[in-house]
C-alpha cells in the first residue's frame, strides 16, 4: 500500500497565491476576448485607423528591436565579461528608463531632441528633425525597451562558463570568434527571451511616444495610441483594437520562444 507524502499547508497556500496571480493576469484578456462579437471584430478591422496603426506598430517595433539587438548585444557582452567599475556604473545607468515613468521619458526626449533641446538644434542644422516623426516613435521605443534586452542578454552571457571561452581561444579562435561561435550560441535562449521582452515593451509603449512623437494617424499613431484615440470615438472599437494588439503580442512572444526549438529540428549549423 503506497503512503502518500504529507503535503504541508504551505504548498496549498503557494498554489492559491500563484493561481490568484495567474488569474489576475489572464482574466482581463479572457474578458476582452469574450466581450467582442465577431461582427465587431470585422468592423474594427475595417476602420480607417486600424490598418495604419497596426502597420506602424509592426514597422517601428521591428526597427527598434533591430537597433536594440545590434547595439545591445556587444554592450551586454562587455557588461558580462568586464569587472571594471565603469561596467558596474553603466549597468545602473542602463536601468534608468525602467524606473522612470514613460511620460517622463517623453518629456526628457523632447528636452533632448526638441527644438529647444540639448541636441535638437544641432540636428536641425543638418536637416534632421526627430520629434513628431516615425523616427521619434522608434527612439522612444528603443529607450524604454532596450534595458530589458541588455539585462537579459548580460545575464545570459554571464552563464557561459569562462572555461569554454578559454578553450575556444586555445583552439585558435580570436576573441571575436570565441564570442560569436561559442558565447553567442550558448547564450541565445536568454537573448531571445530578452528580445521578446523588449519587443513586447516596445509594442505597448504609449506615454513617451505620445509626448515625444505625437499622435498623428499614419505617421506616429501606433496601436496603443490608436486604442486611446478610439476610446474617444467608440468603446467597442477600442476593445477590438486592444484584442488585436494583445493577439499580435502573444503571437510574437510565442514565435520568439519557438526559434531555438526550430533550430534543433533543422539540425546543426555548419561551423
Amino acid at each position: 500500500m503506497t503512503h502518500r507524502a504529507h503535503r504541508s499547508p504551505m504548498v496549498g497556500m503557494g498554489v492559491l497565491f500563484g493561481a490568484t496571480l495567474v488569474g489576475l493576469l489572464v482574466l482581463p484578456f479572457a474578458a476582452l476576448a469574450v466581450s467582442t462579437p465577431l461582427t465587431d471584430l470585422r468592423a474594427g478591422a475595417g476602420h480607417p485607423l486600424f490598418a495604419p496603426a497596426l502597420w506602424l506598430s509592426l514597422r517601428t517595433t521591428l526597427t527598434s528591436l533591430s537597433i536594440t539587438v545590434v547595439l545591445g548585444t556587444p554592450l551586454a557582452w562587455w557588461l558580462a565579461s568586464s569587472r571594471s567599475r565603469t561596467a558596474r556604473v553603466t549597468e545602473v545607468l542602463i536601468d534608468l528608463p525602467i524606473v522612470i515613468p514613460p511620460a517622463v521619458v517623453g518629456v526628457a526626449l523632447l528636452e533632448t531632441f526638441g527644438r529647444r533641446g540639448l541636441v535638437g538644434p544641432l540636428l536641425e542644422a543638418v536637416g534632421i528633425t526627430v520629434p513628431f516623426t516615425g523616427g521619434a516613435v522608434v527612439v522612444a521605443q528603443v529607450v524604454v525597451s532596450s534595458p530589458f534586452f541588455v539585462q537579459a542578454a548580460a545575464n545570459a552571457f554571464r552563464k557561459v562558463e569562462p572555461d569554454m571561452l578559454i578553450v575556444a581561444r586555445t583552439l585558435g579562435a580570436s576573441p571575436t570568434a570565441a564570442f560569436a561561435r561559442v558565447a553567442l550560441p550558448i547564450a541565445l535562449p536568454g537573448l531571445l527571451v530578452g528580445a521578446s521582452l523588449a519587443w513586447a515593451r516596445a509594442l505597448g509603449e504609449f506615454g513617451a511616444t505620445l509626448l515625444f512623437a505625437g499622435n498623428m494617424p499614419g505617421r506616429t499613431q501606433t496601436m496603443p495610441l490608436a486604442i486611446f484615440s478610439a476610446l474617444e470615438a467608440d468603446v467597442r472599437l477600442a476593445i477590438v483594437f486592444s484584442l488585436v494588439l494583445a493577439a499580435v503580442g502573444v503571437v510574437l512572444l510565442v514565435a520568439i520562444r519557438f526559434v531555438p526549438v526550430l533550430r534543433q529540428f533543422q539540425g546543426r549549423d555548419a561551423l
Partner: protein, 241 residues
C-alpha cells in the same frame, strides 16, 4: 627531447601567484590543497589571465616573456587545454567540437580536411561512434575522451588538463586512467595535469610539483616526495598510495 619552463609572478584578485617550474616530456602532476593556485597556474600558462611578470617557453618557442615584451596571444600558443568539467561546447556535436580548432583563424582547414582529421583522432581515441552525438548524451568517460581529442586536434606543443578524472566514478576512473596514460605516452609531448589522486601520478609516472598558496614548495618524483614530504598535505597525498 622538448624542455619547457614556466615562471609566473602575478596577483589575481586577492591571490598572489609566484611559481617557477620546468620539465620535459615527462608528464607533470600539479598537486596542492584547494585554493593553492593550480587552476590559476594552468590559466596563466594558457594565456587566459593577464600576468604581471612571466616567462614561459615550450621547446624553442617563447610564449611569454614580460621583460622582453613578448606576449603570444592565446590563439597562437599551440596549447591544448582540458578544463575541469571538460568545457565541451553544448551547442555542437562531438564531431563539431573536435573540428573546432581547425575551423578558425590560423589553423583553418577546409571542411573535408577538418572532417578527416577529426574523425581520425576520434577513432584513435575510440570515439568514432560518438561523432554525431550531442554533448549532453555523453557519459563522463566519453566526455573526457572527446575533450582530449578536441585539445589534440591542433597537435599542441603542450597539453594542460585540470582534474581530468575527477568527474568520473571510481570504476570508470581506473579504465580511463589507463587510457589517459597510454594516450599521453603516445602523445609524447609535454603535459601538465592537475590532480588530487596519487594513483594518477603513479599511472602516468609523472613528476610531482606541489603548490601551496601560489608557490611551489616541493618538486620531485613520487619516491622523493614520499621520503621527505615538505608538509602535511603532501604527506597525506603520497601516503594514500
Amino acid at each position: 627531447m622538448t624542455t619547457w619552463h614556466v615562471s609566473v609572478a602575478t596577483r589575481v584578485g586577492g591571490f598572489e601567484l609566484d611559481l617557477a617550474m620546468d620539465g620535459d616530456t615527462t608528464p607533470v602532476a600539479l598537486i596542492g590543497p584547494n585554493g593553492s593556485g593550480k587552476t590559476t597556474a594552468l590559466r596563466a600558462i594558457a594565456g587566459a589571465i593577464d600576468v604581471e611578470n612571466a616567462h614561459i617557453h615550450v621547446g624553442d618557442r617563447e610564449l611569454e616573456h614580460t621583460e622582453a615584451g613578448i606576449h603570444v596571444p592565446m590563439e597562437h600558443r599551440r596549447i591544448g587545454y582540458v578544463p575541469q568539467g571538460y568545457g565541451l561546447f553544448p551547442h555542437l556535436t562531438v564531431q563539431e567540437n573536435v573540428e573546432f580548432g581547425l575551423a578558425y583563424g590560423p589553423y583553418h582547414h577546409s571542411s573535408t580536411d577538418r572532417r578527416a582529421h577529426a574523425s581520425k583522432l576520434l577513432s584513435e581515441l575510440g570515439c568514432a561512434s560518438l561523432s554525431a552525438r550531442r554533448i549532453d548524451r555523453l557519459s563522463g568517460g566519453e566526455k573526457q575522451r572527446v575533450a582530449l581529442a578536441r585539445a589534440l586536434v591542433l597537435d599542441p606543443d603542450l597539453l594542460l588538463m585540470d582534474e581530468p578524472l575527477a568527474a568520473l566514478d571510481a570504476t570508470r576512473r581506473r579504465a580511463v586512467r589507463r587510457f589517459l596514460a597510454d594516450r599521453l605516452e603516445a602523445f609524447g609531448r609535454p603535459s601538465i595535469l592537475v590532480t588530487h589522486d596519487v594513483r594518477d601520478v603513479i599511472a602516468l609516472e609523472a613528476t610531482v610539483v606541489a603548490l601551496d598558496s601560489g608557490r611551489v614548495i616541493q618538486r620531485g618524483s613520487l619516491d622523493e616526495l614520499r621520503r621527505s614530504p615538505a608538509n602535511d598535505f603532501i604527506a597525506e597525498f603520497v601516503g594514500a598510495a
